[in-house]
Symmetry: D2
Subunit: 351 residues, 4 copies
């Protein structure tokens, strides 16, 4: 279950990301939940938990399935989530004798969390790739301008002369740290059944989770994470680490771009409806905005760790409202930082 | 400039609000900015700042204008906001001799902030109306069930017997407080020109702002609020006050709906994909979620008070990412609380 | 129950406030809780709920009472609050025949919340007074430097020339808004008894609350606010409004004080352990810090609105950890802003 | 520079931690800064950067030094930090010929950040130890009560029967995750000099940092972290991870301890000033409070990643106001959770 504010609106070109937006559309979410159901059926057939014919029927049905959106919306409003309604629709679409094998032993949370992880994994690949490009771009900047003089500023006052390479080394360090944080994130299948115990699978439970993870390209922890939200907590922290590191870069660019400093020259730049001489460092400002956006939202993800009993509707729904936005903000920040570095014509103190 | 995550996605039936969503669509934003431009031209013509013919031409043009969305998106990415591109398109659409009178003496922020206020004013009318309905509904509940016994709980332990009316009085108090907060909000025109001084209008500045406010049905403060974000800060606090008060109601319903308590009986209720006997108090949980959502986002609106110099791109853009979502969350909470109260079949301790 | 981090440590001269610290010491809290108990007894004697002799004995005992701190700490750890242990100690100190009249019909929350309100009321008087002094000081600055030229900056770029008076008008507006917010805060007695109903007082309950409020100089709402935390929520928002408005002032000073701008000249200024030529705008920076501190903490106060049933230990304790710090931060910001304005030797663009 | 609100006040027995408080006292901070200065002098003497006699004199002086607190407070208010004043006092205390070798090539931030890391390292050792004890205690609980029946609850509704061991496995998982996060934290020396470049040390810079780190028992990263606040950001996330995991445990205990559930029996428990029959689950509630406290404060630590240029007074000071409190909250949560588990007399559904 995922969606973001950065999609499909006037502001999407500014703070959105068309590549990541595809991952957090309703379609992508539904698609990933169907992938979960298919992978589950295949794994269960392999372990002889359900008949192979049922798994085949489920796979065929999921591939040709077209959701009844109006009906789904009604059931979402009633159930607080998409899965019960989706499964009911899907079962109508499968031959009767196989229908009850769909979603066997699984719970809504298994499908929803796994769908999120499938798409987050792809999103983080994109973040990773972009951060490497940023790093590469920054290396190029240092090669070109690294030996230019720059005045260090501490507490916003002129301190001592440094080189552009010195400040850039700090940016690089921030990017490396964020990249490292992105790379350490784990993407695990969720599979716990109604109350997290998988009791109906007996000693096949572990093997089934393993099969499911392998087939979806996700990790397969020994214990599901229904109520221990470490995995999504880490994703949120990483997104904010990334936007924070790029927010520092953006803030520095804003300050260097002040006309009184003239320490950075950018091509492009925003125009003003009232002052035609202006060239605003819009990208740099937006990096600061995105850093503060994620620094704000991350707090709610930390609150969501207080997840009562075997499943908290309240805490879980809060994650849905926050995490996709945070990932999108990270993607937008990486996209914008890359553009900003590429548009940098010169850095260094005015001689 | 406005948009929300609660629109047009799978989750909108759960946490969205179709009535408020119309106010925070890109279309509604563009429409309100055009209303600003027309009202400005009319007011300026009235004060003989621009020719009446120009105002007429601007009005006609704005009414028949169809935005070139692709081009607008490009300019938004460049400028960090919609207005410079929108004005450029609009000017193409007005006879040449009048085109330069459009947006005369105004700045992008004037159009964007005023558009927000126009739509927030309508949104708050809706919030107000819903809170009154909630209050009315609660009064009805008290009439029906108020004399039923209920066990008071403090620190989640049984305390002493009270009546349903006693607990309901506390809910009513919270609703009254939130309603009062919603009612106190002011919706003011924004008009300050390029750097907030309106110098080009000399001693007509105040009169012009007054005309503009009157014609748009908004307040007209002596001083613009370009950099002092009190007005949007108050809206954010009110939205969170409302969701907080309803979050307390939702939390109480969650606890009363526990099977072990059985203190509230609801019609409807969410189903589970794994456990068919369950009836989940989805609305009550969602009220808690929405309260924590706004409690999280409000922090960023407070950070946005640190708005540097004559206009902060970074702080202002952060508002755009947060406030519409907060208003939508308030609307959804009011909608859901009303439904929840209506679906209440009984309250009181099990005899 | 109150305390703050800004007290008695190395950082108190920087971000603390010795005048407000006195209000949020353990001593002041205990003193205010005793004031509550005395006022309650007197009011109850007046309404013939308890004997006059008991009220007299309680008054005498409270005046000569010395707390056994070690014992109190033990009971606080057990009870999660100070009152049960405090009342137990106090009762030992009152003649046996009168002891049970102490705290009659009251609950711990009544004493703790009222103690907070008594001290917050004094704190807000101090905030009010300081904000007026800031306003006065700013008026003086405008008289001296208001006609100096200043370059307006929007999105951190040079925009158009304005006057110092123009930017100062925006600061003044922020200060007025914060002052208005501080002035609107209400300080009400808390009195609800064990479960908020005051049932044992029958139709005397309202009169008793009125007497209690009048004698303590606090408001006396018809309904207690045990579970509807609007009153403390408003205090938190006001504190953050104040620090936000002064944070904007501080941020502007930081930018104006940049050597490349040289738009403000301050006496004093911080020294550096490594660079002896530097004069850091420490006060201006600290205003930004305090704004972001309160913008962070306010979120927890909004979460505390989700206050379950008749009393939430979890939500209430969170307020204790946040609100006193926020009030202290507001006090420190007001103190620092005043000093900063006083130390301003000149404002305006370098000619 | 460190201090916390949880020290030395009425609430310290409830939410404080006397063992950790010692690490975050002003004394401990000063002591650790002196340790930094001594280690720096010794390392510099070893590398022949300063004379051995100077290092000896510095060591002797630091050991016998008694701070002039009144003077220090004045310089802190002026400089925004303790080090310039502290170094000035120390230099008075060292023979003149050696005094200028003190703090050679270092900057205030080096001493302050290193002092924080020295004490955080010890604090995290304590957190680590306590989390292991919690884990051990929980294992014991499972041995005793693991096979007791418990009713699983999802969305706060009765779901299906599980065992106490099942729910405990989820708690264990959360504790393991938090412990893992605590263990991964790195504690690195800070050494960058005035503007982060260590230029005056030429090719000895790296060796010097290494010596310094080794002698203080801290890591020695290739690049200082003056402006890239990853190391403190990670500490904050870990503290909130820990309180979040224990907050989930606390929330579950609160729900299980409801009289209507009676699923957990605790010895002790808080008393009420109004209702003598009550036994409040104060520890469980406090765990929820501490989780929400850290979830709130962590947001400010993420904002502090936006750290401008070579040193941000505003962002850095915000860390001082937040991080020590977060570590203390983590310590208190670990202490309280351990006590709560120890006081657990029974868990499981009522038969």
């Amino acid at each position: 279950m995922s969606f973001t504010l950065q999609q499909s609106q006037l502001l999407s070109p500014l703070i959105g990301d068309s590549e990541l937006a595809l991952l957090f559309s309703a379609d992508a979410d539904l698609k990933a939940m169907l992938d979960f159901e298919v992978a589950l059926a295949i794994a269960q057939a392999k372990l002889r938990i359900i008949p192979q014919a049922a798994a085949d029927a489920i796979e065929v049905a999921c591939k040709s399935f077209r959701v009844d959106e109006a009906n789904l919306k009604q059931t979402i409003a009633r159930d607080g989530m998409s899965v019960p309604g989706l499964i009911a629709q899907l079962r109508q679409h499968i031959e009767k004798e196989h229908a009850h094998h769909l979603h066997f032993g699984a719970t809504s949370q298994d499908a929803i969390d796994t769908s999120l992880m499938l798409r987050a994994a792809r999103a983080f690949d994109i973040l990773n790739k972009r951060m490497r490009e940023i790093s590469f771009q920054l290396t190029g900047l240092v090669e070109r301008f690294g030996q230019n003089a720059l005045m260090a500023h501490t507490r916003m006052q002129r301190a001592l002369p440094i080189l552009v390479a010195d400040r850039a080394a700090s940016w690089q360090d921030g990017i490396d740290g964020a990249l490292n944080s992105v790379e350490k994130c784990l993407f695990s299948v969720q599979f716990g059944g109604a109350v997290g115990t998988l009791k109906e699978f007996g000693n096949q439970a572990e093997m089934l989770t393993r099969e499911l993870g392998l087939s979806l390209g996700l990790g397969f922890p020994l214990k599901n994470w229904h109520t221990q939200r470490g995995p999504v907590f880490e994703l949120a922290n990483s997104c904010s680490h990334l936007t924070g590191a790029l927010g520092k870069l953006g803030q520095d660019y804003c300050l260097m771009a002040q006309n009184e400093f003239g320490e950075v020259k950018l091509s492009g730049g925003g125009t003003s409806s009232a002052m035609h001489h202006k060239q605003n460092p819009v990208q740099a400002e937006t990096l600061v905005t995105l850093a503060r956006f994620n620094a704000t939202l991350v707090s709610g993800m930390h609150h969501s760790m207080v997840h009562e009993q075997e499943r908290s509707g309240a805490a879980w729904t809060l994650e849905w409202m926050l995490l996709p936005q945070m990932i999108m903000a990270a993607g937008a920040a990486a996209r914008i930082a890359l553009e900003m570095l590429k548009s940098t014509l010169a850095i260094g103190s005015k001689p």
